[in-house]
């Protein structure tokens, strides 16, 4: 088999892997790099549970070939908290009970973090449209929107 050899950075760490060219970035993160935080909910880019960042932009890990990652900087939910401290988004998701089953949570956190990096003071409507590609079946999104909004406010205060 014509396996590919790829070098990339994941959550700041240099990684190297060999993969089938048909494997997606999500497959490699989960099955080869033991990073199972990103989930596969649909495999077609419709649910966002596999959200990761590639060179700063949020993408669906299921819609990217792992071979494309050569030289890229990948970010996953496992990289959100730094130095043992939870990120303000994580803290607020817990405080607001913004998760029930928790399967969509990793993808939503990755997407929400990218939103706040781009727009530190989003309206509720902006939060809802930014997260429209992250399906949650449990919460009705109410507490998720509140958690993102409160995290943004906290982050603005703490500069």
């Amino acid at each position: 088999m014509n396996m590919m050899h790829v070098r990339a950075t994941v959550n700041g760490d240099a990684v190297e892997f060999v993969c089938d060219p048909r494997e997606t970035m999500l497959d490699v993160l989960r099955d080869r790099l033991a990073l199972t935080g990103a989930k596969e909910g649909c495999g077609t880019g419709d649910c966002g549970a596999c959200s990761i960042t590639v060179d700063g932009a949020v993408v669906c890990g299921c819609l990217m070939l792992a071979a494309e990652a050569e030289g890229a900087e990948i970010g996953t939910v496992e990289g959100i908290s730094e130095g043992g401290e939870l990120h303000a988004l994580q803290e607020n998701f817990l405080k607001h009970a913004a998760l029930q089953c928790g399967i969509c949570t990793p993808g939503i956190l990755v997407a929400a973090k990218a939103l706040l990096e781009e727009n530190p003071d989003p309206t509720d409507t902006e939060i809802r449209y930014w997260l429209a590609g992250n399906l949650c079946r449990c919460t009705g999104y109410d507490k998720i929107v509140r958690a993102v909004s409160d995290a943004a406010a906290e982050m603005r205060e703490n500069g």
């Binding site: 880019g45 966002g48 050569e70 997407a111």
Partner: protein
């Protein structure tokens, strides 16, 4: 399956032309990956064009804009020049999918996927956009309207790769708009889409083009629209006539996304609404 990421367009075109079996060009991959994963298409070769110089560039050209084949919706939306001149085209691309999809989806991918419901295609045709094609036989520039030939089918020859889209000079008094109908607020494929591009002088329309999506095997131009709109200031009876003409050319299908009856009716509603927006934009333009 093999994956290659050539660093020149010559190399890419040569490899795509000479490879046996099924070849797929990969830029954003938001359609290709879905087809690949579902087993709908099993390519023997995937040619990733993102490492080719120029594919990610947006450059001014002859008063218009040349947009590289790998420029994403997110990148195009952030380009104030293109978004200022052609808001309808940019909106149409930005309507596709989620934040995640926007980071990868491209105009050219949307065009080559050849879905009758592709959002950006009616807006591009209305804008009079062309594409640059690089193939084994050299390069050619072709109107967007000539690319899609039916659901999933294009006029591209084997080994031909679209390298960029060209949006012409906006010109004074111009405005464009694209609207689509979907049952949800996001994440759906258009049930009906409508792109309108027009120019006004002294408050009257002097030039116009109306193109519908998802109502026929390819995007279709409402040929009568220019006769109806030109010379008018978009009065109520003109909009009624436009709506009727738009509904009249629909040849849609009944499917999981909508009925023939519904699509035909809503095509008129969208034409009316998109024309209003394009007209307001034209009035507000420099």
């Amino acid at each position: 399956m093999d994956y290659i990421a050539p660093e020149s367009i010559e190399d890419a075109a040569a490899r795509a032309a000479s490879a046996p079996g099924v070849v797929r060009i990969l830029a954003g991959g938001t359609d290709v990956l879905v087809q690949l994963r579902s087993g709908f298409v099993e390519p023997d070769l995937v040619v990733d064009i993102k490492r080719i110089p120029g594919m990610k560039d947006v450059t001014a050209e002859n008063g218009g804009w040349r947009i590289g084949a790998a420029v994403s919706g997110r990148e195009l939306g952030a380009h104030s020049g293109v978004a200022g001149d052609w808001p309808g085209v940019v909106e149409a691309l930005e309507l596709i999918g989620s934040t995640q999809i926007q980071a990868r989806a491209t105009l050219v991918g949307n065009l080559c996927n050849a879905s009758p419901a592709a959002d950006s295609v009616p807006a591009l045709i209305a804008a009079g956009a062309t594409v640059s094609i690089r193939g084994p036989g050299g390069s050619r520039e072709v109107p967007v309207a000539e690319i899609g030939t039916g659901p999933g089918r294009t006029s591209l020859e084997r080994g031909e790769i679209i390298t960029s889209v060209f949006l012409p000079e906006r010109g004074a008094g111009g405005g464009d708009a694209y609207l689509r109908f979907i049952p949800r607020t996001e994440m759906d494929i258009a049930v009906v889409g409508c792109g309108v591009n027009l120019r006004i002088a002294d408050g009257r329309i002097v030039d116009s083009r109306v193109v519908l999506g998802a109502v026929a095997p390819t995007a279709v131009e409402v040929e009568e629209a220019a006769a109806i709109l030109n010379g008018s200031a978009l009065e109520e009876d003109v909009l009624d006539a436009l709506a009727r003409a738009s509904s009249a050319i629909c040849r849609p299908i009944d499917d999981k996304r909508g009925t023939v009856e519904y699509r035909t009716r809503v095509a008129g509603v969208l034409a009316r609404r998109a024309a209003r927006t394009a007209y307001e934009r034209a009035r507000g333009s420099r």
